[in-house]
């Protein structure tokens, strides 16, 4: 990257959405600065200015220009620094990748949140719904090693960051992904062997503790 290019990531340490962006940046070998936002304490002026609509992290500032929404940011990173490419070369492959990224965005985090927010029968339903979603994703991967096929790609980046919170869902939901969706568990472990993922993977124990805090704040227990 030319020395006059500046990348600043507005981040929250436990955000699985920020993790996506960090992994994408690492895959591209890009260096960047981080500004840690205190989402529970007080958001910075820069966050409000860069993301006036949502005031959420992550925000990537490229030479001062903000890009928001994590999937959008990963897309932007892939287009601006094309090597190594995360999205497939052909338009059909790209469309399928975007479809699964969109499915992941619509379903996974909310389904996980439903687990830690519920109790009793609702919790059971939330757990089953979450496992169903993982099974659908297993189906999408087919017999390949990654969602990108033989290579780690766009959909893998979009999904692997969210798995940092899965330990929390397992604990509160009373299930193990290894048992319910072994192929999915194997994929997580495969991805964690990559440098870009290993270096940016939030400690699941810490994510679990953070979710515990969220539960208290939402009055779940």
């Amino acid at each position: 990257m030319p020395s006059d290019e500046q990348l600043l990531l507005l981040d929250f340490w436990v955000s699985p959405f920020s993790t996506r962006v960090k992994i994408a940046l690492a895959e591209k070998g890009l260096s960047y600065e981080i500004q840690e936002e205190d989402l529970l304490g007080g958001k910075s002026d820069l966050l409000f200015k860069s993301n006036p609509l949502y005031a959420k992290v992550p925000v990537l500032l490229h030479n001062g220009k903000p890009v928001v929404e994590s999937t959008n940011i990963v897309h932007y990173i892939d287009e601006t620094w094309p090597s190594p490419q995360l999205l497939p070369a052909c338009s059909y492959g790209r469309s399928r990748a975007r479809f699964w990224a969109d499915f992941i965005d619509k379903k996974v985090f909310d389904a996980g949140s439903n687990i830690w927010r519920s109790k009793g029968d609702e919790l059971e339903a939330a757990k089953n719904d979450f496992i169903d979603i993982l099974k659908k994703l297993e189906g999408a991967m087919g017999v390949k090693d990654y969602f990108g096929g033989d290579e780690f790609g766009f959909v893998d980046v979009i999904l692997i960051g969210l798995t940092t919170w899965f330990y929390a869902y397992e604990k509160y939901g009373g299930f193990k992904i290894e048992k319910e969706c072994p192929k999915f568990a194997a994929w997580i472990n495969r991805c964690k062997e990559r440098d870009s993922v290993a270096k940016n993977y939030i400690d699941p124990q810490k994510a679990y503790e953070f979710v515990g805090l969220l539960r208290e704040m939402h009055g779940v227990e």
């Binding site: 932007y76 059909y92 469309s95 969109d102």
Partner: protein
């Protein structure tokens, strides 16, 4: 024009605005295609085969390969057929375009559509949410520009400007206010600028037909809600 041996098929429903947006994209690119009308009350094996995850229209088949979700279909069309580009070339501008198209869909259109499926307080909440986000979209439109991105029709126009027509239909059937003439003059001008483009106007289903269809649909939904106390949501 598509080269020989390219087969483009669209599975749709005449009253779906998402299908309309894909038809607009195909029209602007000059792509010939076969159209298959779907009966949404009795979905065909073809639809279920090609969109097993969501089972919805539109589905575009390009040489037999299915594409689903209207925004993604339009992106695919734009990347595959390079004439009359709908998205900007610059990655930053493209990211902004994608952002606003998704914002229009998720924050304006989704609550608007939701309100149609709800009654009472829940409906009011959806209407309020839609209005709030429509005001944001208003502020994103630049004064004096014919289309969202400038003087050339583009991605956000195709993806979302149809919402003006559907908003009016929802307003009439539900007796609610979504589009505020005083607070949303740029939105109103934008809706009209896009829909009046001759190529796009040709594809619009007659408003009267849309109104009649949605009046019947609303009656069906209310009756179902009264029986079951819950209503499934459709539309992508």
């Amino acid at each position: 024009m598509a080269p020989e041996k390219e087969l483009v098929q669209l599975i749709g429903f005449w009253g779906s605005p998402y299908v309309l947006s894909v038809r607009w994209a195909l029209k602007l690119k000059g792509i010939e295609y076969e159209y298959h009308e779907e009966n949404l009350l009795k979905k065909s094996p073809l639809l279920l085969q090609y969109n097993p995850v969501y089972k919805k229209v539109p589905v575009l088949l390009h040489n037999g390969k299915p594409l689903v979700e209207s925004l993604m279909i339009i992106q695919y069309i734009d990347e595959t057929w390079k004439q009359n580009p709908l998205q900007p070339q610059d990655p930053y501008e493209r990211a902004k375009t994608l952002f606003w198209a998704k914002f229009a869909h998720e924050k304006c259109i989704a609550p608007m559509v939701s309100s149609f499926f709800k009654i009472g307080e829940e409906q009011e909440k959806c209407v309020k949410e839609a209005c709030e986000h429509l005001r944001t979209l208003e502020s994103a439109l630049e004064e004096g520009k014919r289309f969202f991105g400038g003087e050339t029709i583009g991605f956000v126009d195709i993806a979302a400007a149809w919402m003006g027509c559907w908003a009016r239909i929802i307003e009439e059937i539900l007796s609610v206010k979504l589009i505020d003439e005083e607070k949303m003059p740029r939105l109103i001008a934008w809706f009209s600028n896009v829909v009046e483009v001759p190529a796009l106007k040709e594809c619009m289903p007659p408003t009267q037909n849309l109104l009649e269809h949605n009046i019947k649909f609303r009656k069906f939904l209310v009756a179902a809600a009264e029986r079951l106390q819950s209503v499934p949501l459709t539309g992508n």
